[in-house]
Symmetry: C2
Amino acid sequence: MEGAVEPFKARRTYLVLRDRIANGAIAAGSRLPGEPDLAAEHSVSRVTIRRALDQLAQEGLVERRPGVGTFVLGPGLIAPTVVDFSDVFTHLKEMGRRTEVRLLAFGYVVPPAAIAEALGLAPGDRSQRAVRVRQMAGAPFSYLTTHVPERVGLTYSEAEMATLPLLSLLERSGVKVARARQSIGATLAGPEAAQALQLEIGAPLLSLTRLVEDEEGRPVEHLHALYRPDRFAFEMQLQRTGADGARRWSPLPPQAAAHTEENAAPRKAKNRKAST
Amino acid sequence: MEGAVEPFKARRTYLVLRDRIANGAIAAGSRLPGEPDLAAEHSVSRVTIRRALDQLAQEGLVERRPGVGTFVLGPGLIAPTVVDFSDVFTHLKEMGRRTEVRLLAFGYVVPPAAIAEALGLAPGDRSQRAVRVRQMAGAPFSYLTTHVPERVGLTYSEAEMATLPLLSLLERSGVKVARARQSIGATLAGPEAAQALQLEIGAPLLSLTRLVEDEEGRPVEHLHALYRPDRFAFEMQLQRTGADGARRWSPLPPQAAAHTEENAAPRKAKNRKAST
DNA sequence: CACTATTTGTCCGTATGTATG
DNA sequence: TCATACATACGGACAAATAGT
């Protein structure tokens, strides 16, 4: 009548430690407390702590030296690709050049109600649906689902979809892209996204929903994107403009997309601007 | 020698259904297939399907009517508080007025290495650390951890911290807030954040890290924020500016923070601008 | 007003994974 | 490593609620 088992403790402990390492709360290079201490701190048995540490070691976040201790190797792989909100189009073109795309699905379907409404389609109208995965050096980081009204989608081919950024295709087709409205949130990975992004189900993901309109306010593209937060993040720089009365901040063109494969620590603005 | 038990099936199934509802793939108001059908579809026993549906029902996403079926109530509650990136300061003041704050922790500490470096502190220097929870109508939606260099932090009191936005306090203390650099990502809830935000451990969270600097480029505030994605999202409106050569997009002042408690469907730009 | 088919709700026994000491 | 306690998942059986005939 004693052992009240509470499952998921190994996973829970793993998540906490992983987060502390990612945040830098546990400095890179430092030695973790001993297993008994960690066990006490997290109210967990030593076996459970070991499972958590094993998982961290397997992912290369810590190194276990028998008889010595467990050492943090660093937030290491956390090298988010930067996104520049003040120059989205240029950014997208760069992305197109520096990353590879895999086209997972392509076809014309009757979209779910919410998307149909967003695109301004009548019930039963079809849209072109494409599912793509973007990867960089073979490592996938985004899972993209796009819906385009059928009349617009028919102006380019499936093969082009697999290589060129969608915005470029739309422009080439004569669509005057004018506005976009987007919302950023977070979710857990479902089975499809998890497989495509090489993650476990239940892993955290950044989610982006964007609705693009042309000059006349007609929706031309609905995008639902899921990003691996360890490989992609949204970064932006804000600057106070105007006098005290206005108190406005406006985004500043930050440095271009940088793929620092080593450190996410705020680097002192290199201001490497590539566009006009 | 038969039942190869695969754990976490209930959670997996729950995630799939939850995602389909959120995406609108299962229309709001519609009736789900019967439990045996769902069980077959997901290769899961009926008991497991029930657990998944129970969880959905508990979160108010579906309604279970005995003898009739299970009905989707809709993506319903996904009513994110809007954030306006082009006028952050005004937005923050509004937040201060419309939301309540709980101060969970307050004190002077030696910050973790990463934060110390970001703030430009020498090793051993202390900072003022505050942990706050923002809630709206009693429902918590953000978990904020701020670090301020000691010299700056001493210019206001703990009581003021519990009521006023930090940026206001800094300004009042004579700090010329000029720039900020922020990064948006996603994580899973650890024990502290989970408790504060009334979530289960492992729930998905939006994360924001912001470093605020004054006119001379000295860091004055380091913010680490965690948001419940079902109650808070970042929204922004982008507009194409300039001719084809430049191809620049710039954020547009969108409508002020709206707490639409019903629908997240893109409403046709009301353009209710409050500031200059 | 029964009668029936369908659906959710409850319970059991068993096999296996998870956490503990 | 091992024995023990608990949790998860399974298949099956039966009860209760509902809607239609």
